[in-house]
Symmetry: C2
Subunit: 333 residues, 2 copies
């Protein structure tokens, strides 16, 4: 592990493009970048089923340029990427079920648009530094735990297949065309500004919504192990990946505090909330077909190479998230 | 290994769709299917840089329905797949270099159109039996030889990434939606009706063209090991994969006779031709970046599960191929 990176020195005054910048992780990243003095441009399609929400950048009016644009609209890409020092590429369709119902849309966003963005960079900004938001979903049902970056990729749904391609394009362009890119394979990320309206981004979102509304929530299965990254820790990882030369061309898992079963997570949430009810039920059939069983990430590679460590324990992550939605829920429905 | 499959009993009178059916392997497959009594429909886009050539189906007028259609034109797909018993899915962009120059076209054909075909089947013909032409290119630079189906997928070019996705969609639809599909990972296939105008389909094509024209040909590198499947053997594999229940949901390498170096292959060609000249030269830089080094397939899985064995040795394969182009070259330029 090397000396801590001075993010202000790296990003202050720099031009930074964040695709999906009105979304959950994107907006938390934008807020941090603005605080560090970066000149941030946000691109977000504001598709109702996805994570974009104008509330996520509340208080930043005049300090961030926001383009409502779809990354599938590739004639617009050259103008967007030109002149940027950094590109945080977080635009994506995240729902596994939606990817099965409407697979071509998932492909156009998670696969085709990624290649179009990279082509735009190759032609108009080959010196840009890119960090791509990949996902643990590409591993599929784990052969072993914790899952390291060498684990075979065996996607269980259309989303996983397209994310593999999207990630692979980034690494290929890094290797062959010298466009410096890093991919982070995220696990479940939680925190303020996540989508809570439904389970399209994470099931934890809809649990929290129900809790705040005083309604019971449903736990499907319950015995599956999952790990959770608090969004501020994920933002740290994006900044580190962009700032550090050792990250170029690399792929890194993000993990979190020790994994828990979904049942335990539900109990913990109820406890922190000071009350609440949940029901455990069987997996719905269509969902079961694409379930991955237990998962938790081996994140020692990013710890060793970039010095990243999740700093927020699960209780703190849930406490802060619940506090946010107690105040803000109406903006997320 | 089980009893030999009676292809006539399986395919006679059956409706069969072959995408890329005017191409190299596609047309050889179509000719065999027609001889077996199948009712064959061909779809081919006849894109000048690809393998489609009307000469490939010479003599079959009135016995095959040919649609000039592009698999990217997805509104046409439902009418094409409806009512077919078998779908041999061979439409593809095969040039590695073209995939680097024009990656989005490669994606639209090798990745997006494959998903659109499967969606058309899901909606309009879920009982169809599909065999997909995949490629050894998806393995990238081998970790070990011979390469079996468990070898990690580590594509070295855009073509490889898109073919992985195209293959994965087939296997996913098989697993989740019950659309019975098999993928064959082809190595270098050679034989009559291959593209010889240039190296877009296989470098062997352009070598043979030069030899027949009495011109010297170029061998890049020369020490790389490669294996070669004769096209009739590849056709056998497609038929077996479609006919045999054990193949459903499976992925199988095709191999060939023992591998040779490119240098040895060149010598053998010159010898069979009774003369000819070649020059060994360094890999061009852009080509070297995406070269995979040595490759040969472990094809024991398909031998064991489906009883497939390449029956044509390399000398016989080259002899027949040369004989074909001595007569037919002018139709392929």
């Amino acid at each position: 592990m090397s000396a801590p990176t001075n993010f202000r020195r790296v990003f202050s005054g720099k031009r930074v493009l964040v695709t999906g910048g009105l979304g959950f992780i994107g907006s938390n990243l934008v807020r941090r970048l603005v605080a560090l003095g970066a000149r941030v441009t946000v691109v977000d399609a504001m598709i109702p089923e996805y994570g974009g929400n104008r509330r996520n950048l509340a208080g930043l009016a005049g300090r961030v340029r926001v383009h409502r644009a779809d990354v599938r609209d590739w004639p617009r890409l050259p103008a967007l990427v030109r002149g940027q020092h950094y590109l945080f590429n977080l635009a994506g369709q995240t729902s596994h079920m939606d990817s099965m119902r409407d697979p071509l849309t998932d492909l156009d966003i998670n696969c085709r648009a990624q290649l179009a963005i990279l082509e735009a960079c190759r032609a108009h900004n080959p010196d840009v530094r890119i960090v791509f938001a990949s996902t643990r979903q590409i591993y599929g049902k784990p052969d072993y735990l914790p899952v390291d970056e060498k684990h075979p990729l065996r996607p269980v749904d259309v989303n996983g297949i397209n994310k593999i391609a999207g990630e692979a394009f980034h690494l290929l362009y890094s290797r062959v065309h010298g466009i410096r890119a890093t991919a982070l394979r995220l696990t479940n990320t939680i925190g303020p500004r996540m989508r809570v309206k439904d389970a399209r981004q994470t099931f934890v979102g809809v649990w929290i919504r129900r809790l705040v509304e005083g309604e019971p929530f449903e736990v499907w299965g319950g015995e599956q192990l999952r790990d959770f990254t608090y969004v501020d820790d994920a933002v740290d990882a994006f900044l580190l990946a962009a700032a550090r030369r050792e990250a170029e061309g690399g792929v890194f898992n993000l993990g979190g505090p020790p994994p828990v079963t979904l049942h335990r997570l539900a109990e913990l949430l109820v406890e922190i909330n000071g009350g609440g009810v949940f029901a455990v039920r069987e997996f719905p059939g269509d969902r079961k077909k694409i379930d991955i069983g237990d998962y938790h990430a081996d994140d020692r590679l990013i710890a060793r190479k970039l010095g990243w460590k999740p700093r927020t324990d699960l209780r703190a992550a849930l406490t802060r998230t619940l506090a946010y939605y107690r105040k803000e829920l109406r903006h997320y429905l």
